[in-house]
Every structure is written in structure tokens, then in C-alpha cells.
Amino acid sequence: MARPSGEFNAAPMADIAFLLLIFFLVATTFDVDTGIMRKLPPIPDEEQQRQQENKQIKERNVFEVLINSNDQLLVEGEPMNISNLRESAKEFIANPRNKEDLPEMEVKEVPFFGQTETTKGIISLQNDRGTSYEMYIKVQNELTAAYNELHDGLAMQKFGQHYSELNKEQKDAISDIYPMIISEAEPKNIGGN
């Protein structure tokens, strides 16, 4: 009796593999999750609340951004188009000409930089309950962009690298000079839900 040859037919194996392949192709969702990172403030207890009320922040140090229920912007008391928000936020934070109405600079010891002026400016954002989420994200995006551009500019000037390429200590030093503080007040409810 002739024995069958030892080689087995591998052709259907490809079919099985294809079937599996198609399953995974269909089931795959390449959803890389991206978004804007934020840190919410903790709810203050009574003690902290009292302290906060006593602590006054000077008006010149606050960049006030309001969004109403019609998605219109009011920045420092003036209506503004969203396309100008980034530039004016940048000018506010950096205060390049040391203007009186822009935030104070505080000289602090910062690693890598030595004694440097750091900004005391903070951004206060308030929206209405009727503001659209799309507009809110646009504003958050512009404010983040303002900080990112300042950080990047400083990183380029000091280290000759993009901010994202720096190591942790260098990044910390830069965000000491331009600390990103976006404070959000409780939303108003003027426009209704």
C-alpha cells in the first residue's frame, strides 16, 4: 500500500486565516482618544472658602472671558471675535511691554532661568448654561493654544527645542514662568436651558 505523501494541503489554511483577518478588520476601531486635558478645582471646605474670600486677586491680574447663551464672547468687558482671543490672551499672559493694566510680573527663582519675571495673570472663564458645547471647546482650545504658543516660544528661545521635546524639569521651569491657570466660575443661567 502506498503511503500518502507527508505534505498536507495548506491551501484551506489561508481561507481560515482570511476569515479571521476579516473579523478583526471589521471589529477594529482605531479610536485614539484625544482631547483637551483639564483639572477641575476641588470643592473647597468652609475653612478654605473663608480664606479664598479674604484673598483678593487684583483686577489687572484677571483676564475675564465670558460666553453668553448666544455663543458671543465678552473679553475684559469688550465683545470679541473668537479669532482674536488667542492673540489677546497671549498678550495678557506675557505682558511684553509691562503695561499697567496687564498682569503684574513677579521675580522668582526658576531653574535654568535664574531670577526671572513670572506672570501672575490668571484667566477666568465663565459660561452660561445655554452656551453651546462647541463654542466652549473652541474657547478652551484657544486659551490652551495661547499657553502652548507661549511655552513653545520660550522653549525655542531658551533651549532651541520645541516644548514637547523638553524633559520634565525643563517643562516645569517653563510652566513656572507662564503657569496655566484657567479658573472657571459657576455658570450663569440667563439664557435658560
Binding site: 483577518l21 482618544d33 484625544t34 482631547g35
Partner: protein, 157 residues
């Protein structure tokens, strides 16, 4: 010697397809590794807004998701068209967020709990009212690291 040899008639050998499965398997492994099978079924419309300054969310195991948007067509007769919150596989109220965060936190290792991030996947057609309520609930549950889910675009206006 001749024992090992087959009939002497020589044909032109066919191209061996034996290596084809190997190639396919390689592709399979690639897709298997890169696949994230959706574990939740979306019950709300969820088209996230675009933004330019987005960051990638690392460590997906530390992320819990909150979906907000209008209920999809098939749920509209039961739940209406007002934007609603979805946690896991069901619609939820703002008060449920506290329990949800607590359960999610319990699943994590003790040392990693502070790194827990909540991803807010909010539809573009949502008003801020419900989002503010969710944010306040998250603050109360002390889940302070949040991520406004957005997709990368080159220009926003």
C-alpha cells in the same frame, strides 16, 4: 535510495501557497494587537468637537468615559431628544455619576487611583448646562482629572 524518490516523471512544480497563511497570520496578529473592541454600545449621538490643541490619552485602562448627547433615534420615543448622560450601557442621571466614579475607582490599583482620568465625550450639539452639572458632580466625587474629548483638526474657525 530509490525508496525515497517518487516517480521519475518531473513536472514543473507549482508555486507553493504554504507561506500564504503565514503572511495572513502576520496581518491577523497586527490587527489583534491593535484592536480595541468597543465594550459599550453607544446610545447617544456622539460627534465630538474639533480642536487643535488636543493631547493623546495615554493609559486607556485609567480612563473612564461619560457620554453626553441626544439619545439615538431608536431610543428617542422612550427618552426624548434632550441631551442625556450615558454611563456604561445605560442612560443615567447626574446623581449616578458619584457611584459610577466610585466603582471605576475601585477597579484600579491603589497607587494608580490619583491618575484616574474621566473622559467627557460630549456631542457638539449639547448645551453647557448638562455639562456643568456633570462637572460639578465630578468635583463632588473628587474625580478632578478630566479630558474634554475632541478630535484633532487643523483649523477651528
Amino acid at each position: 535510495m530509490a525508496k525515497f524518490r517518487k516517480e521519475g516523471t518531473k513536472e514543473i512544480p507549482q508555486i507553493s501557497t504554504a507561506s500564504l497563511p503565514d503572511i495572513i497570520f502576520m496581518l491577523i496578529f497586527f490587527f489583534m494587537v491593535s484592536t480595541t473592541i468597543r465594550e459599550t454600545q453607544l446610545m447617544v449621538n456622539n460627534e465630538v468637537p474639533g480642536a487643535t490643541e488636543v493631547k493623546k490619552l495615554e493609559r486607556k485602562d485609567l480612563v473612564s468615559y461619560i457620554y453626553i448627547g441626544k439619545p439615538k433615534r431608536q431610543f428617542q420615543d422612550m427618552y426624548g431628544t434632550e441631551p442625556r448622560i450615558q454611563l456604561n450601557d445605560s442612560f443615567a442621571k447626574v446623581d449616578d455619576i458619584r457611584d459610577y466614579i466610585a466603582t471605576e475607582r475601585k477597579q484600579l490599583d491603589e497607587s494608580e487611583r490619583p491618575k484616574m482620568t474621566t473622559s467627557l465625550k460630549v456631542d457638539v450639539d449639547t448645551k453647557m448646562g448638562v455639562v456643568s452639572d456633570v462637572k460639578y458632580a465630578l468635583r463632588k466625587a473628587s474625580a478632578l482629572k478630566i479630558n474634554y474629548s475632541a478630535q484633532k483638526v487643523d483649523q477651528v474657525y
